[in-house]
C-alpha cells in the first residue's frame, strides 16, 4: 500500500482509492466491494438509472469550489509528423469535430441514441438482475457532458492544474517536469489548426485536403465522451449535406464502425480507421508507435505522453466535464458534505471508505484525490 | 501345500464385448513340495492360469483349491514372480525385498533381519542398497525371488521368470533356483517357453494345447538332479516334449 503523496494533518480520516477497470465498478459497488467510484460517463448514469448507486457530485462540482468548472477532459491530439505532412487534413478533421460537437450539444437526444447504438448496439445493459435500456442511460448521461471545442484560457488553466497535479504525484518525469508554463504550452499545444478549422466553419467553406493513398487511424474510447465522433460518422449525411464534410461509414450495420471515408466537398480524401482503445494511456502508446495518427482521449494521458517524449500535439478540446462520484444507493449520502461525514464515520469505525477510480493519473484519479485532500482526508491507494 | 485345479476355464470379454476363451478347462493336482513346469504355445493361457491360482483373476468355470480351501483372492501363502517389471524401481534392493513384510506390518528390526537373510540367500550381499536400475537383468530376478521367499510362501508361482535373460545368465539362475528349492522345498509352479528349462528344472512337465489351452500331456521327469543337459536321458525327454509340441502346432 502506497502512501499518498501529500500528507494532511495527523489524526485525519482516511479514504482508500483503488484502481479498477471501469466496467467492473457497478459490479464491485453492488457486491459491496467498494463504497463508491469516481469515473467517466456513462458509468455515472448507469448507477443512477439502474438504481445501483446515486451521484454524490459531478466532477465540475467537486471541491475546492470552482476549481473544476468546465474542467478539461477529452481532446483531439495528433502526431507531429502527421500534422506536418497533412495540415489541411488535420484542419478538416478538426472542423468536423467542431461541427459535430456543436451538433451533439444541440441534439442531446440524437447523440444519446447514436452513442447507445455505437457502444451497445442499442440493446439493454444487464447489471445483475437489473436491466436498463442503454438509450435511457445515455439520455441521462449526455446532458451532463459539455461538448465545447474552444481552447479557452479557462480550459488552458484547467490543464495547468492537471499538470500541477501530475507533477505532485510524480508522474511527470520528462520534458514537462520542470518546464515553465510558457514552455509547457509551447510543447503541448498547436492551436493553429483549431483556428484554421474555426475559420473554415465560420466561413461555411471547408478547404479540400490533398488525397491520401494510405489510410489513417483515429483512436477513441468507448464512452459517450466521444459522442461527437460517433455522430460525425453515424449522421454523416447531415454534415455532408450542410457543411460538405463527412466521415462516411463503409457499412450501415448498427453498432460500431471500423472504417469510414473522409469526404470533403464530395471527394474521398482518405480512409479512416477507427480504433477503440481501453484508455487514454493506451491510445497514447499507440500514437507513439504510429499505429494511430490521431486520438480522441483525455488530456492527462496526453500530457504524460508528451512528457515522455512522444511527438504529439494537442489540437483542440473536444469535450469538458462529464465525470462523477457515485456511491451505493443505500449510502447515507446526498452531497459532498454528507459524503465527507460518512467517510469520517467509516474511518472512525476502522473501515475507511474504498473508492474506485480508473487508472492512476487519470482525470478522475486526480480530481478525487484533490477533492478529498482539500476536505481534510488522508488518501491511501489500496 | 497342495494346489488342486478342477476343470478350470477362463473366458475374457474384450472391449468389443466379444468373449475370448483364454483357458479351456484344466484339471490338475500339484503336490506339496513338487516342482511343476507348464509349457505351451503363446496365448494358450499359462499366465491366466497362474494368475487364477494367485487369486488375481477368478476362473469362469471350475475351481482352484489351495490346501483344500478355494482361492478367493491374493493369499499370503502364495507368492508370484513375474517375467519382468515387478521390482519397484524407486526402492532399493533391501526395500524391495522388505516390501511384503512391510505390508504385513512386520516391525523394522525383524524385517531387516529377514530381508538380509534372503538377500544373502540369492547372493546379493553388497547390493542391498542398490536400486534395481543399477542391477543386471539376472540380479533383478534374484531380487524378485528373494522378495517372494521373504514372505515364506508355501507355493511359488513363476511366470517365465528367466524369459528376459540371456542364455548364460539363464542357466546360472536355473541352477540357483534349484538350490534354493532343494533347501526350502516350496511347491513351485513354473511357466516357461523353453523345453530345455522345463526338463532341467521340473518334477513334472505339463504341456498345454494351443488356445484355448487344455491339458495335452504330462511328462514325469524321473532322473535325478543336478541334471546333465548333455546326458542321453535329458536329450531323449527333450526330444519327446519337442515332438509333441511340433505335433500340436501342426494339428492347429
Amino acid at each position: 500500500v502506497d502512501e499518498a503523496p501529500v500528507q494532511p494533518p495527523n489524526g485525519a480520516s482516511e479514504v482508500g482509492i483503488m484502481y479498477t477497470a471501469t466496467g467492473q465498478m457497478p459490479v464491485l459497488l453492488s457486491t459491496g466491494q467498494i463504497d463508491g467510484y469516481m469515473v467517466w460517463q456513462p458509468f455515472v448514469s448507469v448507477a443512477e438509472v439502474s438504481g445501483i448507486g446515486t451521484v454524490v457530485s459531478y466532477s465540475q462540482d467537486l471541491p475546492p469550489a470552482g476549481t473544476w468548472t468546465d474542467h478539461t477532459c477529452d481532446a483531439l491530439s495528433a502526431r507531429e509528423d502527421f500534422i506536418a505532412a497533412n495540415p489541411d487534413l488535420v484542419n478538416a478533421i478538426a472542423a468536423l469535430l467542431i461541427l459535430s460537437g456543436d451538433y451533439v450539444q444541440e441534439n442531446p437526444d440524437r447523440a444519446a441514441e447514436v452513442s447507445a447504438d455505437w457502444l451497445f448496439g442499442g440493446g439493454d445493459m444487464t447489471f445483475g438482475d437489473v436491466k436498463v435500456s442503454s438509450q435511457d442511460v445515455l439520455a441521462h448521461s449526455i446532458p451532463t457532458i459539455r461538448f465545447s471545442t474552444e481552447p479557452s484560457e479557462d480550459w488552458l488553466q484547467s490543464n495547468d492544474r492537471f499538470i500541477e497535479a501530475l507533477r505532485d504525484i510524480g508522474y511527470l518525469t520528462g520534458s514537462l517536469k520542470d518546464a515553465s508554463p510558457g514552455e509547457v504550452r509551447d510543447t503541448l499545444y498547436d492551436f493553429s489548426h483549431y483556428e484554421a478549422a474555426r475559420a473554415m466553419v465560420d466561413a461555411g467553406e471547408i478547404t479540400t485536403p490533398e488525397k491520401r493513398t494510405r489510410p489513417m487511424s483515429i483512436g477513441y474510447l468507448p464512452s459517450d465522451h466521444d459522442a461527437p465522433l460517433f455522430v460525425a460518422i453515424k449522421d454523416w449525411e447531415h454534415f455532408h449535406e450542410n457543411f460538405g464534410i463527412a466521415l462516411k461509414p463503409r457499412t450501415t450495420a448498427p453498432g460500431k464502425v471500423d472504417v469510414a471515408d473522409l469526404i470533403v466537398n464530395g471527394e474521398i480524401i482518405t480512409e479512416v480507421r477507427l480504433v477503440q482503445g481501453e484508455g487514454g494511456a493506451q491510445l497514447m502508446t499507440l500514437m507513439g508507435t504510429d499505429a494511430i495518427q490521431m486520438s480522441y482521449a483525455g488530456t492527462p494521458p496526453t500530457i504524460s505522453a508528451v512528457d515522455k517524449g512522444m511527438p504529439i500535439k494537442i489540437l483542440l478540446p473536444t469535450q469538458n466535464e462529464g465525470s462523477g462520484l457515485v456511491v451505493a444507493a443505500s449510502a447515507p449520502v446526498d452531497d459532498w458534505d454528507s459524503f465527507i461525514a460518512w467517510a469520517d464515520a467509516r474511518s472512525a469505525e476502522g473501515r475507511p471508505l474504498r473508492i474506485a477510480a480508473p487508472i492512476r493519473g487519470s482525470i478522475q484519479d486526480v480530481q478525487i484525490k484533490y477533492a478529498l485532500q482539500d476536505s481534510g482526508l488522508v488518501v491511501k491507494e489500496v | 501345500m497342495t494346489v488342486v485345479i478342477q476343470d478350470v476355464g477362463k473366458i475374457f470379454e474384450t472391449r468389443t464385448r466379444e468373449p475370448v476363451t483364454a483357458l479351456g478347462g484344466i484339471t490338475l493336482e500339484i503336490q506339496k513340495g513338487e516342482f511343476v513346469a507348464i509349457l505351451g504355445p503363446s496365448g494358450c493361457g499359462k499366465t491366466t492360469l497362474l494368475r487364477m491360482i494367485a487369486g488375481l483373476d477368478t476362473p469362469t468355470t471350475g475351481s482352484i483349491l489351495v490346501e483344500g480351501k478355494p482361492v478367493t483372492g491374493p493369499d499370503p501363502r502364495l507368492a508370484m514372480i513375474f517375467q519382468e517389471y515387478s521390482l519397484y524401481p524407486w526402492r532399493t534392493v533391501r526395500a524391495n525385498v522388505a516390501f511384503s513384510l512391510q505390508m504385513r506390518g512386520v516391525a523394522k528390526e525383524e524385517r531387516d533381519t529377514i530381508t538380509d537373510r534372503f538377500i544373502r540367500l540369492v547372493g546379493l550381499d553388497g547390493f542391498a542398497d542398490s536400486y534395481p536400475y543399477e542391477l543386471s537383468g539376472g540380479m533383478r530376478q534374484r531380487v524378485a525371488v528373494a522378495r517372494a521367499l521373504a514372505t515364506d510362501p508355501a507355493v511359488l508361482l513363476m511366470d517365465e521368470p528367466f524369459g528376459a535373460l540371456d542364455a548364460q545368465t539363464r542357466n546360472r539362475m536355473q541352477k540357483e533356483l534349484l538350490e534354493i528349492w532343494e533347501n526350502t522345498r516350496k511347491t513351485v509352479v513354473f511357466v516357461t517357453h523353453s523345453v530345455d528349462e522345463a526338463v532341467y528344472l521340473a518334477d513334472r512337465i505339463i504341456v498345454l494345447s494351443p488356445r484355448p489351452g487344455r491339458l495335452s500331456a504330462i511328462f514325469d521327469v524321473r532322473f535325478s538332479r543336478p541334471r546333465d543337459r548333455t546326458s542321453v536321458e535329458f536329450a531323449s525327454l527333450r526330444r519327446d516334449v519337442l515332438e509333441l509340441i511340433d505335433q500340436l502346432e501342426e494339428s492347429q
Partner: protein, 253 residues
C-alpha cells in the same frame, strides 16, 4: 458407460449452478443459468453491438487458425532441424528457454508496436502462444526417432532429404501431431489475450473483454462456455485424426 450416466455430471453442475445462483441471489456474483442460456440460445442475435455469438466465434476461429497455421509453418521445420542437429539445438536452446515462459499477454504491447493495429498483431499473439508447444514437441519427436529405424534406412541407402521424408518425419509424426494438438489448444486459449488488442471490435475474446468493460457477466459466462465447447471440439477433432492416422503408434508394442 451408458450415455445417460455421462449426462449426469453436466446436469448436476447445471443444477448446482441454479441452486447456487438462487441461494446467492446476487446476479452480479452468479447470474442464473437461464440468463446465460438466453444469450447462448440466440446465437444469431446481436450482442452489445458487436455481432452475434456465431459470427464472433467464427471470426475467432479464423484468427486462431491463421496464427496457429503460421506457428506450425515455422515451428515444425525449425523443430525438425533443431531435433536433428545437436549443435543447433545447443545453440538455440537457451533462447527457446528464455522466450518460452513469457506469456502471450506480455507480448501484447510489443505486438502492437511491431505489427500495428489489425489482424497481424492478433495473429502474432496467437502465433507466439502456439509456437513453443509445437516446436518443443517436434524437437522431442525428431530426437526420439528410433535409432534402429534411422540405421535401417542408412543401411538401405537412404540419405539427406529421403531419410527426412521417408523416415524421420513419419516416425516423428505422432509427436508432432501431439504438438499440434497442444499448440492449437494454447492458440485457442490465447484468443482472449489477442482480442484484447485495441482496434479489435469482434471475436469471442473481444466479446468477453468488452462485456467485462461493461460489467455484462452473463455474456462473459456465455463466451467462456463457447470457448470451452469449441476447445473440446478442436481437441476431439485432433484426437480422432490421431487415432486414425497414428494407430500404429499405440499398437506398436
Amino acid at each position: 458407460m451408458r450415455w445417460y450416466l455421462k449426462v449426469i455430471p453436466p446436469l448436476f453442475l447445471l443444477l448446482a449452478w441454479e441452486v447456487a445462483s438462487i441461494l446467492i441471489n446476487n446476479p452480479f456474483i452468479l447470474p442464473t443459468p437461464t440468463s446465460v442460456a438466453l444469450v447462448l440460445l440466440s446465437p444469431m442475435a446481436d450482442i452489445l453491438g458487436s455481432g452475434s455469438i456465431i459470427d464472433n466465434a467464427l471470426l475467432s476461429i479464423w484468427r486462431v487458425i491463421l496464427g496457429f497455421g503460421l506457428a506450425v509453418l515455422c515451428a515444425v521445420p525449425a523443430g525438425i532441424i533443431i531435433g536433428r542437429y545437436r549443435i543447433i539445438d545447443e545453440l538455440v536452446n537457451p533462447l527457446i528457454q528464455l522466450f518460452r515462459p513469457i506469456p502471450p499477454l506480455a507480448w501484447v504491447p510489443l505486438a502492437l508496436a511491431w505489427f500495428k493495429i489489425g489482424l497481424a498483431s492478433i495473429v502474432f499473439i496467437i502465433f507466439i502462444g502456439s509456437f513453443f508447444p509445437v516446436l518443443i514437441n517436434t524437437i522431442d519427436g525428431v530426437r526420439r526417432v528410433n535409432r534402429t529405424w534411422i540405421e535401417t534406412a542408412l543401411i538401405y541407402g537412404a540419405k539427406g532429404w529421403k531419410l527426412l521424408v521417408y523416415v524421420i518425419i513419419p516416425a516423428a509424426a505422432p509427436a508432432i501431431w501431439t504438438g499440434l494438438r497442444v499448440g492449437f489448444g494454447v492458440a485457442w486459449m490465447c484468443v482472449v489475450a489477442a482480442e484484447m488488442l485495441p482496434g479489435t471490435n469482434s471475436g469471442i475474446g473481444y466479446l468477453i473483454m468488452y462485456s467485462y468493460n461493461w460489467g455484462q457477466v452473463q455474456v462473459i459466462i456465455a463466451g467462456m462456455i463457447v470457448i470451452g465447447i469449441i476447445g473440446i471440439g478442436a481437441d476431439l477433432l485432433f484426437r480422432t485424426i490421431e487415432k486414425k492416422k497414428f494407430q500404429w503408434q499405440e499398437m506398436n508394442r
